[in-house]
């Protein structure tokens, strides 16, 4: 009775399963395509999604002072791309061709960067199913295992699939704690930027060009743009830097170097709640405001420490007003944890204690403060509805935008602010005096807009 029905149910199920199965079976054949090539006699593959095109080229503009695997730059229909010789990069034997003979180039596109890669020969496009990709085993490669995505066999040949994202990405050990507009700048990009500069302009004087190279590396590795906004600091830091490092070691070779250079740039209490001293300084720099509601935009809030700090300061300073802070960041991971931050009371400066309550996991800000702040996942370069703002707090944010974006956003700020609105920028950021009046003294970079 029951069993009969179960069997019939089973039959119905398998019949349906059959149709779906045969449909998926066709799909099972190929779900990963790779462009295959050879290096020192072995077969390799790269995900076709990363391959922009294939080319044969010879005349690369050789640039001195570059890493040995960087053969130079190449003009790919107007776009200057760095050309890396994979054989040299991976310490494989490579036959040196004469200057004029054509090399086989794979043109790769990774996020916004394009690279040319020299290989021995390019074979064909192979389609496989990703379930057949085996994890890399040290025995398979002459190449550092971290660059290998996996290995796969196809028609009797063994292909080593390279993880080009890993190869072209420099792992940043320390990110700046106030996460603003973080970048995926790569070592090669730094070199390219420097190379493009060399290619397009006549060679400038020695030490000025050192500074220029440093600026370009800062941009490539940390997306820090040296502009009038921060040029005072950059100049003085460069003088310091020359004393710390000896003259042929000035260049920033990697992310750690860049971090070290930038270390003195950041505003006080970066990535943590403002301490008593700094909070007091900000509080005293704030002018009287009679408005009943005070609206603030805080782009680049990172994990939210500065937003909470500001909320408490404003509550203290403008006791009768209703405060509203729109805190945003384009780093999703950082900003999503902001609404639920939990602290150990001992780690929190005393001035915040009156605003905190004890919860199950520790102390957090009370509902009144939480209601003040709205945390959003937002890219400040995109359009937003903020208008009629009393204040904008963007500490160490503008310097990490592209130079043309910096100008545009600063203009936007002035449009979004009320008359005589306030802007708080980073410790070492300076706003143009014709439009902005400085209200705060070191280290509080508080400005008022001269409408």
């Amino acid at each position: 009775m029951h069993i009969q029905e179960q069997n019939l149910q089973q039959e119905v199920r398998t019949e349906n399963g059959h149709t779906e199965g045969s449909r998926t079976e066709k799909a099972i054949a190929v779900d990963f395509k790779m462009v295959t090539f050879s290096l020192a006699g072995k077969d390799y593959g790269v995900d076709i999604m990363n391959v922009k095109e294939i080319a044969k080229a010879s005349k690369f503009t050789y640039v001195p002072n570059a890493a040995p695997f960087l053969r130079g730059v190449y003009n790919l229909r107007g776009e200057i791309i760095p050309v890396i010789d994979f054989r040299i990069f991976f310490h494989l034997p490579a036959e040196r061709k004469s200057e004029d003979s054509l090399e086989n180039l794979l043109i790769l596109r990774l996020e916004d960067h394009v690279y040319g890669v020299i290989v021995d020969s390019i074979d064909k496009v192979v389609g496989i199913h990703s379930s057949n990709i085996q994890p890399p085993h040290p025995i398979f490669g002459d190449i550092n295992i971290k660059y290998i995505y996996g290995v796969v066999e196809n028609q009797g040949r063994l292909y080593i699939i390279l993880d080009v994202n890993r190869i072209f990405e420099q792992k940043e050990e320390e990110k700046p704690r106030l996460i603003t507009e973080t970048s995926n700048g790569t070592f090669f990009a730094a070199q390219t930027a420097a190379l493009e500069h060399a290619v397009s302009e006549t060679t400038p004087k020695a030490s000025a060009s050192d500074l220029e190279f440093i600026k370009e590396t800062l941009f490539a590795l940390k997306h820090f743009a040296a502009t009038p906004l921060n040029e005072q600091w950059v100049a003085s830091r460069f003088e310091e830097w020359k004393k710390i490092r000896n003259s042929n070691d000035l260049q920033l070779k990697n992310a750690e170097d860049a971090d070290e250079f930038l270390a003195s740039f950041y505003s006080p209490c970066n990535g943590r709640l403002w301490d008593e001293d700094y909070a007091e300084k900000v509080l005293s720099a704030l002018p009287d405001l009679s408005a009943k509601t005070i609206t603030v935009w805080n782009p680049g809030c990172g994990k939210g420490y500065e937003s909470y700090s500001l909320a408490c300061i404003l509550k203290k300073r403008y006791k009768d007003a209703r405060i509203k802070i729109w805190a945003s960041d384009n780093d999703l991971l950082a900003v999503s944890s902001a609404p639920n931050m939990v602290f150990e009371l001992e780690a929190v400066p005393a001035l915040y204690h009156e605003f905190m309550v004890k919860g199950r996991y520790g102390y957090s800000f009370n509902q009144e403060i939480k209601d003040v702040i709205l945390f959003e996942y937002h890219d400040m370069k995109n359009v937003n509805p903020f208008t009629d703002l009393d204040m904008i707090m963007a500490r160490d944010v503008l310097s990490f935008l592209d130079p043309n974006e910096q100008t545009k956003i600063l203009n936007d700020f002035s449009e979004k602010l009320k008359a005589r609105g306030l802007v708080l920028v980073g410790h070492h950021e300076v706003l143009p005096e014709d439009d902005w009046t400085r209200l705060g003294t070191e280290p509080v970079s508080l400005y008022m807009y001269n409408s």
Partner: protein, 154 residues
């Protein structure tokens, strides 16, 4: 977009797709967009109101729409007919409604409108003054992009 709104949409999309397609679903990286967005071919739009104003768009190619509708109906549909369209519309409705339900539990008041379906080639969607959060979902039937553009009611 307010961070508290993100998870409900991501979870609802994941749960509903997993259940109605009866298969593994992969979520791609979330990102933000603020320019005119090209539509892949089939777009289901659900309006949102309440604490926020805006809309959710479910974007996919015609092939994906057909494959999804076929799976949901338990039979291979040959073209994007009324039934297939109604199926995709209902999918959009279920995902949005589940997100709205979750948001309601979190204390946010959202309402949704009956969905509308747009099909065509070379369509573009432009939103005036709103940034969109994109949640790409990978299914065996193809990619479905969930595009949420909302802003707080002042």
């Amino acid at each position: 977009m307010r961070v508290e709104y993100i998870n409900p949409f991501v979870e609802a999309a994941f749960n509903v797709l997993k259940e109605v397609l009866n298969t593994d679903i992969k979520r791609g990286e979330l990102y933000l967009k603020s320019t005119t967005m090209p539509v892949l071919g089939v777009a289901a739009l659900v309006g949102l109101a309440g604490d926020v104003e805006g809309r959710v768009m479910f974007d996919m190619t015609k092939q994906t729409a057909l494959a999804v509708a076929s799976t949901m109906n338990g039979e291979q549909l040959s073209s994007l007919d009324e039934l297939a369209k109604a199926t995709i519309t209902e999918l959009a409705n279920m995902i949005t409604a589940q997100a709205v339900t979750k948001l309601h539990d979190l204390g946010f008041r959202f309402d949704l409108t009956p969905p509308a379906l747009f099909t065509g080639d070379n369509m573009e969607v432009s939103d005036h003054e709103v940034e969109a959060l994109i949640v790409p979902m990978e299914t065996p039937q193809g990619k479905i992009e969930i595009n949420v553009a909302i802003r707080e009611r002042a």
